[in-house]
Amino acid sequence: MELTEKHHEYWRKNVRMTALLVVIWAVITYVAGYYARELSFSFFGWPFAFWVGAQGALALYVVMIGFYAWYMNKLDQEYGVAEGDE
């Protein structure tokens, strides 16, 4: 089983997208968490950092995972590595 250049490109794209999403994940979790005391302006009643921890970050996690699934399924098709009907 030899991998073609196309296969390598698929993998590079996957790794790049994974890295991007992990960076967003880290920023919303750790950078926003680190500056929680500073991010205390009122956001519909919540201090902003509290809202991020209780709702914002969680919703973003769901959206990111959903987006990744959609992106990768599309990538599978484009690069001819999608599964057939098993």
Partner: protein
């Protein structure tokens, strides 16, 4: 539940129909019980009906799904549609601690509790990006399977088996303990009997049908637990905001809670109560220095007071108080020591009110910094631990394809999200209720649920008029976290049937997690240890039989440990996350993303990660220090609490794998092919690694 002849599409349609009927039936069941309650059905009966009806339901699904076929038993035939696997993972994931404990932790610790909310959801990002699709493509039965195939040989597999059992067993003990607690509260049976009743429900289900039965039961359990969590929240939200969806509007309730906290912090009566506690704690500590002398002094003082009162012909109230003081004197030195120790521990009750919304409170910049550091470290350990717990990762072997595995992680987190973003709302609403409706009320006029819960368990709720002014102060109220979820139906003014529903939800959460964990342990022993390492020629029928026997043995062992009521059970659960994170995460992720990672790197990396995590805990955690006889003073590394020990184990695990792998020969060609195989959902001329 389905025959082989069905196509996946028909199977999905069948499942949708079956579970729609189930939801309808369950709601009808609640309505019938509610009507019966209005007609005079006693509370105790409602408890019994909930307990036996739900356990019978789970057992029934188990009997319907019984199987002896190997892929059905280990991975539910790999035909679980994404959305149903999402629900099953949600129930598998959310334990008694999530269902009952989470809102309470948030109530007690405010912002800090959000570490659990974020940690236990954000971990799914790591599952989705780094593990689930690749493990699905690999497609065998257990997590040690992957370690064995990727790193070659039995040594990495054996380390994996050990790690999987270590983290799953501590976790399952806590679940069975939770089952015992809930059944005791729900129907008042003794704790040990409760454990074995629950165990019966778990075993009928998992022994008969393995992963297949557990999957379909978990879906049913998820539906019960989410209904049970949301109904009281909706009612409480209407009570305080006139709007059913608390999530959208509780920010304003939080503002009111914060304002009330300022009021209470400046209230002279509150400060009076706090001062009494501080004085009592100081006096208790002083008396402990010489118990004998203090007891004599106390006895003399109490007798003198009574004598004086008699001599002065004091009013009846004073006489009664003086008599009570004499009656309350400790009987001997041991009793006195116990009493003074209890008094000396009242210090925390004198603490000023904590601010719910404040991030990282502390007396100075340094304390705030330590608080923040531990908050972030805890999130990190919980997230990485989530992405490394074998009983969760195993669930992604059960989907029909890589594509469905990806979708399934999304559904999993969505279903978990429903509960986790409700918990902070529930905590704030209950706090608002307590701070505004309860605190400041006359002791004669407290709502009925207060007395009811105080009599059930004083560690859950206890009140006493410390300063004798007849009014309840915030500092006079001592609350255990679990009360937040358990008492919400009564706080919201719902009928008892909803309280029964909440208990049934907690039971579902504990049972479903226990199911998944027991399977993980039994499979690690039967599949990895017995079949792969001891007798590779065993027939499939024999493997399934051995797996079932081991499941029984492990379940009984866990129940026996749980019935001893081990001390620091909550700590053990959190420790499981650090263990899993440090053992599995580096080896699994590098196995997929770095071709050069090899057998020795992975083996030593797992041992080093687990080793340093375990070492740090034994040096710093009170209970473990006792077990291992550590006596030197606690030295925290960078002020990190033992619960987050994985913070040191995870990076060390990565570092050791990289360094050792580079120092030893690269993996062979077959391993390289395996890496390609898991990275691409489909390749022409692909190898086949599916388990049989």
């Amino acid at each position: 539940m389905a025959t082989k002849a069905q196509t996946q599409r028909e199977f999905f349609a069948f499942l949708k129909k079956a579970y729609s009927f189930y939801v309808g039936g369950f709601i009808a069941f609640i309505i019938v019980l509610a009507v019966a309650e209005q007609m005079g059905l006693p509370r105790r009966w409602i408890g019994y009906i909930f307990l036996f009806a739900t356990i019978a339901l789970y057992a029934g699904i188990g009997i319907m799904s019984r199987t002896a076929e190997i892929t059905e038993y280990y991975v539910a035939g790999r035909r679980v549609p994404a959305i149903f696997n999402g629900m099953a993972t949600g129930a598998d994931w959310m334990s008694a601690a999530s269902f009952i404990g989470m809102a309470g932790t948030l109530y007690l610790t405010g912002y800090f509790g959000l570490a659990f909310v974020m940690g236990w959801t954000g971990g799914y990002c790591l599952v989705a990006f780094f593990l689930a699709p690749y493990l699905r493509k690999f497609g065998q039965f257990t997590i040690p399977d992957f370690l064995g195939a990727r790193y070659g040989g039995n040594i990495p597999r054996l380390v994996g088996v050990f790690g999987a059992i270590l983290c799953s067993f501590t976790y399952v003990v806590a679940q069975i303990y939770g089952v015992g607690l809930i059944t005791t509260r729900l129907v008042g049976v003794p704790f040990e009997l409760g454990i074995f009743l629950g165990l019966g429900g778990i075993l009928v289900c998992s022994v008969l049908g393995g992963m297949r039965a557990v999957t379909w039961t978990q879906v049913a359990q998820y539906i019960i637990l989410i209904i049970a969590y949301l109904i009281p929240l909706v009612w409480l939200s209407v009570k305080h905001t006139n709007f059913p969806i608390a999530h959208l509007v509780y920010g304003h309730v939080l503002e009111k809670v914060s304002a009330r906290e300022v009021e209470l912090a400046n209230d002279p009566k509150e400060n009076e109560v706090r001062k009494i506690f501080a004085d009592r704690a100081a006096a208790g500590a002083a008396k402990l220095k010489d118990v004998q002398k203090s007891l004599e002094a106390d006895t003399a003082a109490a007798n003198k007071r009574l004598a004086d009162a008699k001599a002065a012909n004091a009013p009846a109230a004073e006489m009664k108080a003086a008599e009570a003081a004499v009656a309350k004197l400790p009987k001997d030195v041991d009793a006195a020591k116990k009493a003074y120790t209890a008094e000396s521990k009242l210090g925390p009750r004198a603490a000023p009110i904590s601010r719910h919304a404040e991030a990282f409170p502390g007396k100075d910049e340094k304390a705030r910094d330590i608080n923040r550091r531990n908050f972030l470290a805890l999130i990190f350990c919980l997230m990485v631990g989530t992405a490394a717990l074998p009983h969760i990762l195993m669930r992604y072997y059960t989907t029909p394809s890589v594509r469905e595995a990806r979708a399934s992680v999304t559904w999993s987190l969505f279903f978990i999200f429903l509960l986790y973003f409700s918990a902070p709302a529930l905590a704030v609403l209950v706090k608002y209720d307590v701070y505004t409706l309860l605190v400041g009320t006359h002791f004669d006029k407290l709502p009925a649920w207060v007395a009811a819960w105080q009599s059930v368990d004083a560690s859950l709720l206890s009140i006493a008029d410390i300063n004798g002014d007849g009014i309840l102060q915030r500092a006079e109220l001592s609350i255990g976290g679990d009360i937040v979820v358990l008492a919400t139906p009564e706080i919201a003014g719902l009928p008892y049937v909803i309280s029964g529903l909440v208990a049934a939800g907690g039971l579902a959460a504990a049972l479903s997690t226990a199911d998944g964990l027991l399977l993980t342990i039994a499979n690690a022993l039967s599949h990895d240890l017995y079949y792969k390492m001891i007798d590779p020629t065993a027939s499939t029928a024999r493997r399934v039989t051995i797996s079932k026997i081991l499941l029984l043995v492990v379940a009984l062992a866990a129940a026996t440990v749980a019935s001893q009521k081990p001390a620091d059970i909550l700590f053990l659960v959190s420790a499981a996350f650090s263990f899993a994170a440090a053992t599995f995460f580096p080896a699994l992720v590098l196995g997929i993303f770095w071709r050069r990672a090899n057998k020795w790197g992975a083996t030593l990396g797992m041992i080093a990660g687990l080793g340093v995590t375990f070492y740090y805990m034994t040096q710093t955690q009170g209970w473990l220090r006792g077990v291992f006889g550590v006596t030197k003073p606690i030295e925290l590394w960078w002020d990190i609490q033992p619960i987050s020990a994985g913070l040191f184990g995870i990076p060390l695990g990565f570092a050791v794998i990289v360094i050792v792998s580079l120092l030893t020969p690269a993996p062979d060609k077959d391993t390289q092919e395996l890496v390609d195989h898991v990275r691409y959902p489909h390749l022409v001329g692909d190898i086949d690694t599916r388990g049989t």
